[in-house]
């Protein structure tokens, strides 16, 4: 798995955001569409694509897309 593939999968998380603007360093909380419900879509996407269970704490402690990616890698 690599981080660029991971970013592509965020099309399942966001509806209105242009995925091509995202980079590993993007702070997901700064994206206008981000809220507690998009967080659920992120958990669903990670469960589906990586069979990894993200917790609320995992998301709260992360800032960038790469932080989430690292958590998934460590849980794999």
């Amino acid at each position: 798995m690599n981080v660029l593939n991971f970013i592509e999968k965020w099309t399942n998380v966001f509806e209105d955001t242009d995925i091509s603007t995202l980079t590993p360093e993007t702070a997901f909380r700064d994206i206008e569409e981000w809220d507690s419900l998009t967080a659920l879509s992120l958990i669903a996407m990670v469960d589906e694509e990586y069979s990894v269970k993200l917790t609320g704490e995992d998301i709260k402690s992360s800032v960038t897309l790469n932080d989430i990616f690292e958590i998934i890698k460590n849980k794999k």
Binding site: L40, A44, D47
Partner: protein, 351 residues
């Protein structure tokens, strides 16, 4: 792993009871119009029923039970066990089941006790009452399950208020040697106790002068320590992994064929979570009913409310194979399958 089967017990009917008063999520001022629409899209909940100040869960269950007993033309003297599943009991003690035994005019020889489970409570309740009846030969039993979560949510908490509705239910059980076996898979993960919790008011943290202090955890989430905490992300993560796992375990253990099951009735947690579970299990949509839109998440009453509100025409007086699955507070979960279940009474009443 707690997988087991119970024989000789038939489910004869179910009654649901909800308060007349509707609370519409689109009327809430707690969130912006955009936020409300997004919330409705994700959770599926448009309106909920809410009890008035003077009513509580036992009232809803009482009327549900009266309706069911009269529909089935049961003699109250014959009811030998009553189990009340709820997290919103009348008092800290005594048990609400005792109050209901007396109020319903049941025999003093009736066994009555409470089971304080929530989302998994209906399936747990069925396993408890059925196994006791099978072990003892008791002939008739009543399972009363429901909650009035409106009593314990903060009106300023957007993570709980728009999601939960109030409802009660009654389910009738009969000892019947011709009944098909029921199959169960039950489990617990208390490591997740903090994901859905009311922190103060029990013996661990007795109600104190700080219990009623309102704290704003984030914008739109303000509550005190006697009110319900719901860590949505953790519950979501738990539900989408545990519910499919529980059902798959049940099917594998007893070599049950998914295709022979007519309906899959899930605890109505929220639409997004339920859809994800259904997708993972690859279930056909027409076999999965929802009652979230009109009633919200009614805790241990979601499964019976969904059956009486969405499946009545399809299963009343007909043999049906029904799988039920509840998951949540505890954390706790339970799945069960009842084959050739022929219910003679299915009703939803309002008070």
């Amino acid at each position: 792993m707690a997988t087991f089967s119970i024989k000789n017990i038939a489910i004869k009917g179910i009654s649901g009871c909800v308060p007349k008063k509707k609370s519409l999520n689109r009327d809430l001022t707690l969130m912006s119009i955009e936020e409300i629409e997004k919330f409705i899209d994700a959770t599926g909940v448009e309106e909920r029923r809410v009890v008035d100040e003077n009513s509580c869960t036992s009232d809803l269950c009482f009327y549900a039970a009266e309706k069911l007993i009269s529909d089935l033309k049961w003699d109250k003297e014959e009811i030998e066990i009553l189990v009340f599943v709820s997290q919103t009991a009348d008092y800290i003690l005594p048990v609400t089941s005792a109050i209901l035994q007396d109020r319903l005019g049941l025999s003093k020889e009736c066994i009555a006790f409470d089971v304080p489970l929530g989302c998994s409570g209906y399936v747990y309740g069925i396993s408890i009452i059925s196994s006791m009846m099978n072990a003892t030969g008791l002939k008739k039993g009543l399972l009363l399950a429901g909650d009035t979560i409106s009593k314990i949510v903060s009106n300023n908490d957007k993570s709980t208020l728009p999601l939960f509705g109030d409802a009660g239910s009654a389910t009738a059980f009969e000892y019947d040697i011709n009944a098909d076996k029921m199959y169960f898979e039950l489990g617990t993960d208390g490591g997740g106790k903090d994901t859905i919790i009311v922190k103060d008011g029990g013996s661990r943290n007795k109600t104190n002068e700080n219990s009623f202090e309102y704290i704003e955890y984030e914008k739109g989430i303000k509550r005190n320590s006697c009110q319900l905490v719901l860590e949505g992300m953790d519950v979501f993560s738990f539900g989408i992994s545990q519910a499919p796992k529980s059902i798959n375990t049940l099917l594998e253990k007893f070599e049950l064929e998914k295709d022979t099951i007519d309906f899959f009735v899930f605890h109505q947690a929220n639409l997004m979570m339920n859809k994800m579970i259904v997708k993972k299990l690859k279930l056909p949509n027409e076999k999965v009913p929802y009652s979230l839109k009109n009633f919200g998440n009614t805790s241990s009453a979601t499964i019976p409310i969904t059956i009486v509100s969405e499946l009545k025409e399809k299963v009343l007086n007909k043999e049906a194979n029904i799988l039920m699955c509840g998951f949540g507070v505890g954390l706790s979960w339970g799945s069960m399958l009842i084959n050739k279940c022929k219910m003679e009474s299915l009703n939803l009443i309002e008070i």
